[in-house]
């Protein structure tokens, strides 16, 4: 078991800068998710840690060892690939045993470890089959079992669930989480699926354009996004952003949200962005205190709640409401922002104002 530390990694592909001085620390036994849109450099970072790509500069440590210049085989990692990469010419047993055989483990040990890994992934009955006889979900299980069988110091996973269908993905997500909690393997997991990241991670590193923009526990990432990008990328529907004018009143500022005067960030002038999650507004059909009025444009009953699209002075916002709220497009509703959940952001840089 060991942690991972990457330090000032730069990587360019020709003219394209894939990673810009990226640093990241993963603690021992921690489950960290690299999350970002495609092309943000998350897979490149993972592959650099695996030793499959070489950084232009910077170093990679696994535990206390500097592995920057070591080949993948000497890094004591294992990796699960997006397309499974299960060896088609070997049986499931031989696939799982592959890494152990490379380590020249005695026969008995190989058998024992393969069977243990197979039992963890519930594929004991498939050991004599060939990958061509397996479904996608089963192949993914083989790939994970193969990676775990060698008892790596660090497990790297590159979008392991993205090739599975939605239902299977949900099932595997919970199973992987349970499994990695019980094996206590340090894991770095790449995905572009924010739900996957939120549900599985101990900490999430959100990446954009070759940089890590925020690295924190999931709930902090969700509630306190560092900028409009993170707020907009995480959450479904994403965070609402309202552009507002600030008015200075002696020692404090006031932002006018419709008919509501909201105390704004001090030491600010001009415009700000108000960030609010769809569930961070209390919806009421009648006029109430500390509320502003907005017109309903669309009502989407989703089962557990209603998803409302509302218009406020030409800006739209999405709000969730109780499923029994009687409302129709054209109605006016009163929205009360929960004070503790209000986030202010700079309209130019998008950065959160603290």
């Amino acid at each position: 078991m060991a942690g991972i530390r990457v330090d000032g990694i730069d990587k360019t592909f020709g003219e394209v800068r894939a990673l810009e001085t990226v640093s990241l620390t993963v603690r021992d036994q921690e489950f960290v998710v690299l999350l970002g849109p495609s092309g943000c450099g998350k897979t490149t970072l993972l592959r650099i840690i695996a030793g499959l790509e070489h950084a232009n500069s910077g170093s990679v440590y696994i535990g206390e060892r500097d592995v920057t210049h070591l080949p993948p085989r000497a890094r004591r990692i294992s990796m699960v690939f997006q397309n499974y990469a299960v060896f088609p010419h070997l049986t499931v047993f031989e696939n799982i045993a592959f890494g152990l055989r490379m380590k020249k483990e005695p026969k008995e040990v190989v058998r024992e470890k393969v069977e243990r890994a197979a039992a963890l992934m519930h594929i004991e009955t498939l050991l004599q089959r060939y990958p061509a006889q397996l479904s996608g979900g089963q192949r993914q299980r083989v790939a994970v079992a193969r990676a775990l069988a060698v008892e790596p110091e660090v497990l790297l996973m590159d979008e392991p669930l993205s090739n599975l269908d939605a239902l299977l993905r949900l099932e595997m997500r919970a199973e992987l989480k349970r499994l990695l909690q019980s094996t206590k393997t340090t894991t770095l997991y790449v995905t572009h699926d924010q739900v996957e990241a939120m549900s599985m991670a101990d900490r999430i590193a959100v990446m954009r354009d070759g940089r890590i923009v925020q690295y924190d526990v999931p709930i902090k990432i969700y509630q306190e996004p560092t900028d409009t990008f993170v707020g907009g990328f995480i959450g479904s529907p994403p965070m609402n952003f309202l552009r507002l004018k600030l008015e200075r009143q002696r020692d404090h500022t006031v932002a006018q949200v419709g008919n509501l005067a909201l105390p704004g960030p001090t030491k600010r002038e001009g415009e700000v962005i108000l960030g609010l999650r769809p569930e961070d507004l209390e919806v009421s059909p009648q006029e109430s205190t500390n509320s502003f009025a907005a017109e309903v444009l669309v009502v989407e009953p989703l089962g557990p709640h209603l998803l409302l699209t509302l218009s406020l002075n030409g800006q739209t916002l999405k709000v969730t409401a109780a499923p029994d709220l009687p409302t129709r497009p054209g109605d006016s509703l009163w929205l009360r922002p929960i004070p503790a959940r209000i986030r202010w952001m700079d309209p130019e840089s998008g950065q959160a104002i603290r």
Binding site: L52, A85, P88, M102
Partner: protein
């Protein structure tokens, strides 16, 4: 309906065009002498005998030529694979300057007429003491078989996902181990096809073999030099024996050639 008959007829004509000479060759190689000389020939041979074939193999030098042909063809296979597979792998896996030019250059070697090459090569081989050896012929045949070996193996390797190799690396393999334990087993059927292709190329080649040998003739070169002064049965037997390996091999690699060309095999 009409079109269907038309195509069937066309297919029949083309098949007959190719198959009839082969049939007669085979039929006459397995009959008695008188029947070979008989005219008009009957479509069905009246007698079946090994007389012609045994006469053919009784001729002085035939066995030696057969042995030379086999040695040369096997050498060609080994050389073409040893040189061609790494080149194919490089073309499939790496990006390097001049890759496209290299790919075209490989094909262009086939455009270079071997007639022009053969005489200077013969002189060179005499200098090196290689002249009139199976190795000399095998080297030239390798040059002929290599372009196909490179291009076929490169498409083979391209069909094997890079992630499989990467997975092998992360599981403790060196590059060479990943190649031998993962890539090679997956490429093996296609490699076999490449090998057979090289074998047939070498087996059928006559020009370079004739120029570069004097006593150590390959079967084709030997037959070419003696055919015009041989009796008819000998010619039929020789012709038959020349096409048999090619036919057998084509049937063996048919499946792989089909997959190579993207036709689903059943």
């Amino acid at each position: 309906m009409r079109a269907r008959w038309f195509y069937l007829g066309l297919a029949f004509v083309f098949s007959a065009w190719v198959l009839l000479p082969i049939y007669f060759l085979a039929a006459l190689a397995f009959t008695e002498r008188q029947e070979v000389f008989a005219w008009p020939k009957s479509f069905w041979p009246e007698t079946l005998s090994l007389e012609t074939i045994s006469f053919f193999f009784g001729v002085d030098g035939v066995w030696r030529a057969v042995r030379n042909s086999v040695v040369v063809a096997l050498l060609t296979v080994v050389l073409a694979l040893l040189l061609g597979a790494p080149a194919g792998y490089a073309l499939a896996r790496y990006r390097f300057v001049g890759k496209d030019a290299y790919r075209i250059l490989i094909l262009l070697t086939r455009a270079f007429p071997i007639m022009i090459l053969a005489v200077p090569l013969a002189v060179r081989f005499i200098d090196f003491g290689l002249y009139d050896t199976p190795l000399a012929v095998a080297i030239v045949h390798t040059a002929l078989a290599l372009p196909f070996a490179v291009l076929i193996t490169s498409s083979l390797f391209m069909g094997i996902p890079k992630e499989l190799e990467e997975a092998a690396w992360t599981l403790g393999c060196t590059n060479l181990q990943a190649f031998t334990k993962v890539v090679l087993p997956l490429a093996l059927p296609g490699m076999a096809a490449t090998a057979i292709f090289a074998f047939v190329t070498s087996w059928n080649e006559v020009f370079a073999a004739t120029i570069l040998t004097l006593r150590e003739r390959t079967l084709t070169a030997f037959l070419l030099s003696v055919l015009h002064e041989s009796p008819l049965p000998f010619r039929f037997a020789g012709g038959f024996f020349l096409i048999v390996p090619a036919l057998v091999f084509i049937f063996m690699i048919r499946r792989y050639l089909f997959t190579l060309w993207g036709i689903a095999s059943r």
